[in-house]
Symmetry: C2
Subunit: 598 residues, 2 copies
């Protein structure tokens, strides 16, 4: 590896030692894979990243796509990147063998996704959506649609998109006005409408662009229950030829970051010549789309972890090479590199604690997803509930905390961090999208508290509490963790207390009060989940040091232990202040009249 | 006023009702001023802002200065802006009448500075440094230098700069290598050296550029005690003509934000033909420069508050106009504007609490500076100590918390906040410089804990504790504040406890441990200071409501009370977690070996 942007040692530690990838690989569903194959795949993800992603990160930021004579023109390397990813099988990695996929564990797919997004997050709009669109068609669409679209999406010859948001509706998908008119032919509709913020929604390279689009069939109910899902291609097939399907790029968004991917405004059916193909049953669009949205949400968390990773190693490299200042109290001594200063170490430990805590949480969810695939019955449902509960958290916590981590990485470089000479300023701009797209933090928080916590009478929360207990039980064997363990137990208890406090409002049917502080609740929830993951990592590493005392001199092991201690000393205490805020009994936000804010 | 970017009501409330500008104006030093004159000045600052600053904020960001054939070319409106500011007397506002200034209270100068920086912070590099350079010359330089430079700086015909940082030294000014060689003539030296990150360090409009430059006279001691201050102009006067002084622009920095002002790399004396004029005594350079640095540090805090203000009103406007979603539990109802959602209200209250708390803290410091000017003897020293103590805080707290506030403003706009159509993404980039320039947060925190807290055996801290007591005493009259008062008192007690805990390390001469968590200490200190300012505002507003019950229906008054409550419920509890972290007895950061971070 050239420039370091991810730690393979840490990735393997999390995959195998903490989250049990080996047990997953032993399952018959993944029998065609083994550790060696997995290692090769991750190696190949790093190679693709080093060849097609990393070297162009800055260039793609400086020369963003433009709309030239109605056509979106992207960076010349994009086509090569997509071909390489398609040839490597990365658009069908998690799809089943029978559907032409590679059927690799989601943990491995997630690890590779992390590598790709660390290397050049701005291109994720191209590469992340193909697999998602294909999976959606595979799961819900007719055989004809599958046969027509999936192989092209898997190969990367065609580009997939998610076409949800409309200018007037924003996060409120029930208010979309895109409409599908019956043509009389079964499953074929004429489409009219506008969609905004469509990533990779149009550009010059692919033979076709396939929009997974939400629209309301004329005459169907208002609100979210009348929304259907359509495949709406840029070019439709007529007599075995591709002809224009009346999808026009009405504009391109100029964004603060994430510039490699074009984000466009699309107009469908302006000439009344746009056809859409119904996926599954009518009025089930939102339910279907949730599958893709859930994958996309987890990918946002992965991306945030990726950007943190790139930022961390850039800051570390700088801190190791930049001489400035002296040791405290040693005015006449030699200059030292800034990594020797306590405040720089603190900022690096903070970044490492958020990055490695987030990545562990992400792989924990991928593990649950693999368990859903490989278990049956109640156990399967149990992991599905855990995955559903954690999906908004794994989207939000790495995003929100990742902004802090990348900001601290930038800060390590001082004035140089603010200039284009280093990648930090770009990462700072790039990562700011993560709490916005695929549902803002506010929306994720409403989903967590208002939907997920309530699921099946709180069963998911009970299962998570069990997971916390398992982690505590495992940690209790090690006196080395005696100082840390009660901190986590207190945090978990605080989360439980707060949850009960808020649920009391729901019981009294004060739904608005129940949800008013959902975002603060999300912050607490995420923090406790990071604590959970650090406790798990700490337990595994302590066991490794007991098994082999030489590990007590291994920088990787010592770094893990120190970062865990840092996390519980510097980050985890926030649990207390968040709890105090959440236990307040005032109606402060709800009770604020808008005129008071003028 | 057209588009709202500051609240004049709030500014007047803070100036007169909270911080006693009237008493300052009553002092004979300011006898030539009165409230009416002050109102007119602030009005004129708003008019200049609306004409020359606000309309070009985005344009100046999109077309940053460029180096063309060795000359820095800026936006065409810059020359007009500087002329208007010079004609308005803004470069000599705080200078004394005898020195050709307007001798206005620093509180008023600060309020105007806030308005200018709110309207277009990116231009502050041009307009903020002239007054500072002139003040430095006035205070320390010879009559000849004063006569030659000050009138030109005051009029805006010449541009002033601060030339401190060097590529190899960064924050460690003792390590600068720029050198001054004796010419045999008294006070005149030949200069050689490189300076980086020089704001407004070169551009096409001014007749001359005047660098306040730090350099070491050849043969003088190493480290900070051998540094002298020089005036080094771009063009020097020879036989009443301006001739080139061998100052070359070696490069221009490409920054993430703050793009209106060129930030350049300067090479002095490459042709051995650069002359510098010693200011005051030799080897006193850092002491003198601290005057300008202190002004600049406070101005950074003001700028952060300014950007928060612009961002807040932009988010508020959007939230009031953007329909999206429905009330909780009202799926069939009418769409509402997003300002009706609890989470949007929470984000607006957060911004308002940080903005108005910061601005109050800034004006508190300006008030102390005015008291230094108008009091004598012990009382004067007392206010000077308070000002010295709070200078790093007033630089850092609005900067660090301002980033959060602007980020939340951006978040209110969702995907649109991330796009160039609105000013939020620019403000998000612009404000990120504030914890970096004029000394990073790490440096400010070392100054606070390692220098200011220790001054005169902790006298400044005792004086601040007295100020807290005064605020508590005043608040105690009002039962309306019964819930808030103990929260603040606890916070102030925690700060005291933590200070003693850390001082114990200093006593034991463990200086590195004493300072290891200085940045966390700064965060706690800033938070308690914001609490102090909110308590003061709450007291004044409660008194106003008692005096006139109609105020209990005044949105301004209700908004203040609600924002104070928000602050103490949602922000102030962080005191607890910061205290817990600071009371830890591990050597976590110091004890981390750099190899553990790989």
């Amino acid at each position: 590896m050239g420039k370091k942007f991810v730690s393979l040692t840490n990735l393997n530690f999390l995959l195998y030692d903490v989250h049990g990838l080996k047990e997953i690989l032993n399952h018959h569903y993944y029998r065609h894979q083994d550790k060696q194959a997995v290692d090769l795949m991750i190696e190949s993800a790093i190679k693709i990243s080093e060849k097609y992603l990393l070297p162009f990160m800055s260039e793609m930021d400086k020369k963003p796509p433009e709309l030239v004579n109605g056509e979106v023109v992207t960076h010349p390397k994009i086509a090569k990147l997509i071909k390489a990813m398609g040839d490597g099988g990365w658009f069908c990695a998690s799809a089943s063998l029978e559907n032409g996929g590679m059927q690799i564990p989601l943990m491995v797919d997630t690890a590779a996704n992390f590598v790709f997004q660390a290397a050049n997050n701005g291109t994720y709009g191209f590469t992340g959506l193909n697999a998602g669109a294909a999976n959606l068609i595979l799961e819900f669409a007719s055989t004809e649609l599958k046969e027509e679209y999936v192989p092209k999406l898997h190969s990367g010859k065609w580009q997939g998109t998610m076409a949800l948001t409309e200018p007037q509706a924003g996060s409120s998908l029930g208010d979309i006005t895109s409409t599908a008119y019956s043509t009389g032919q079964d499953g074929i509709y004429k489409i009219k409408g506008q969609k905004v913020f469509i990533s990779a929604g149009d550009y010059e390279h692919p033979e076709n662009i396939v929009h997974m689009m939400l629209a309301r069939i004329e005459g169907e109910p208002e609100g979210s229950k009348g929304i259907s899902l359509f495949v709406v291609p840029k070019y439709r097939s007529e007599k075995k030829k591709l002809v224009s399907n009346d999808v026009k790029t009405a504009g391109i968004f100029h964004k603060m970051g994430q510039k490699a991917t074009p984000t466009v405004h699309l107009a469908f059916g302006e000439k009344n010549n746009c056809f859409g193909y119904l996926v599954g049953d009518k009025n089930q669009g939102l339910n279907y789309m949730f599958k893709l949205m859930n994958e996309a949400r987890i990918s946002v968390g992965i991306g945030a972890a990726g950007m943190m990773s790139m930022a961390y190693y850039a800051a570390l490299e700088y801190a190791n090479e930049r001489p400035q200042g002296r040791k405290i109290g040693d005015k006449e001594g030699e200059q030292i590199n800034i990594i020797e200063h306590a405040d720089i170490k603190r900022m690096l430990l903070k970044q490492k604690s958020i990055l490695e805590g987030s990545l562990s949480l992400i792989l924990q969810c991928a593990n649950f997803a693999d368990l859903v695939k490989t278990k049956e019955g109640d156990l399967r449902d149990h992991y599905q509930l855990l995955l559903d509960l954690l999906t908004p958290v794994v989207k939000t916590c790495p995003s929100e905390r990742g902004i802090e981590a990348v900001s601290d990485a930038l800060q390590c470089l001082g004035g140089y961090g603010y200039c284009e000479d280093f990648e930090l300023e770009q990462l700072y701009r790039d990562i700011r999208i993560t709490p916005i797209y695929e549902g803002t933090t506010g929306i994720q928080s409403l989903d967590l508290l208002g939907r997920k916590v309530l699921m099946e009478n709180g069963k998911a929360m009970q299962l998570l509490a069990k997971e916390f207990e398992f982690a505590v039980r495992d940690a209790r064997y090690y006196e080395e963790l005696n100082d840390i363990l009660p901190l986590f137990e207190d945090g978990a208890a605080e989360l439980k207390k707060v949850t009960h406090h808020l649920l009391a409002f729901a019981m009294k049917n004060k739904l608005d009060r129940f949800l008013a502080d959902a975002t603060i609740y999300m912050e607490l929830f995420g923090l406790v989940c990071l604590g959970w993951q650090w406790l798990k990592q700490g337990t595994v590493i302590t066991e490794a040091c007991r098994k082999n005392v030489e590990n007590l001199e291994n920088p990787f092991h010592l770094g893990k232990i120190q970062t865990m201690k840092y996390f519980f000393t510097y980050e985890f205490p926030r649990v207390k202040s968040l709890t105090e805020t959440l236990m307040n009994d005032a109606d402060l936000t709800l009770g604020t009249d808008k005129s008071w804010l003028e």
